[in-house]
Symmetry: C2
């Protein structure tokens, strides 16, 4: 499906940047729905360059060494927009070890079950606080044509997901009795 390719093209369509900058984007803005390590990003950038979807210029970095600033080409932009417009096929299962463990929770003693659920509840609660804090950076809903609009929507989605997880775990704890 080459999803990483399109994630990179989408980011380079917003503005030109280095592989390192892309990595930072995956770590911060995109981390709620996509991730990629530098060891995956650099080879993909090479591949995209070969395919003429992106190109780069070499410039000196802060320190003495050199860095590659990548930008999207017209070919790349067209490819990206086609992918974005295309119907999204039914997704493969989002794999979730926590839910798998809850599925098997009856194999544990009642006290251990409670411990497991409490632990998960705690993790999701801190995560929610963190996301809510991120949201304060938006003083209002961004214009729907701005790059920050998508940013805002997915952050809202992440918050709602954590709220749902917390609500679910609380219900599970109740049902344990």
């Amino acid at each position: 499906m080459r999803t990483l390719k399109y994630a990179i093209l989408g980011l380079l369509n917003q503005k030109e940047m280095t592989g390192y900058d892309l990595m930072k984007q995956f770590e911060s803005t995109l981390c709620e729905f996509w991730s990629a390590k530098h060891s995956q990003i650099y080879p993909e950038l090479k591949k995209l360059t070969d395919e003429k979807s992106v190109n780069y210029k070499v410039e000196p970095s802060e320190n003495g060494s050199e860095k590659k600033i990548y930008h999207i080409t017209e070919t790349g932009r067209k490819d990206f927009i086609d992918w974005l417009s295309m119907e999204t096929k039914a997704q493969p299962t989002p794999k979730d070890v926590s839910r798998l463990k809850i599925f098997f929770c009856n194999c544990l003693e009642p006290s251990d079950r409670k411990f497991m659920l409490d632990e998960q509840l705690h993790r999701h609660t801190s995560r929610l606080k963190h996301l809510q804090n991120n949201q304060t950076k938006f003083d209002k809903v961004p214009d729907s044509n701005a790059d920050e609009f998508g940013d805002y929507l997915v952050l809202m989605g992440a918050i709602m997901r954590e709220e749902m997880n917390i609500e679910w775990l609380k219900k599970c704890i109740t049902l344990l009795g």
Copy 2:
């Protein structure tokens, strides 16, 4: 992390079955939080047999050919319970192509954006209906010591997830104006 191993051990801990039965379980009960194709299951069963975590007996199948009925060993059961009791590390990002596309939605024309969100809303709505239908199979909450208890909890979780997705997408559509 060998999660597939523990998913299989957990299922075989419930009752003995063939690789084919396991495949069916992944397709039905577990599909909301884990998946595995037969091409992954059969080699894993071989590996688990080598590790003495499972064992099997050969029996004739409905047709003339033979089938292998796998069961968990004491070693396997201990290993499974240890995994289940262990603290679950912070999960890797659940990757989500739909959310990635929404993140980049400002690159599309307003009518195409609306189309994309409507399409996703439709998909999640049918999914929710399907899950709610599955839930009718439980006339009451199963006992917390029964195998069906985990089943019930994760189905409830899947329903809440779809409800959240629908609510989120509706909000997104509203914000598009």
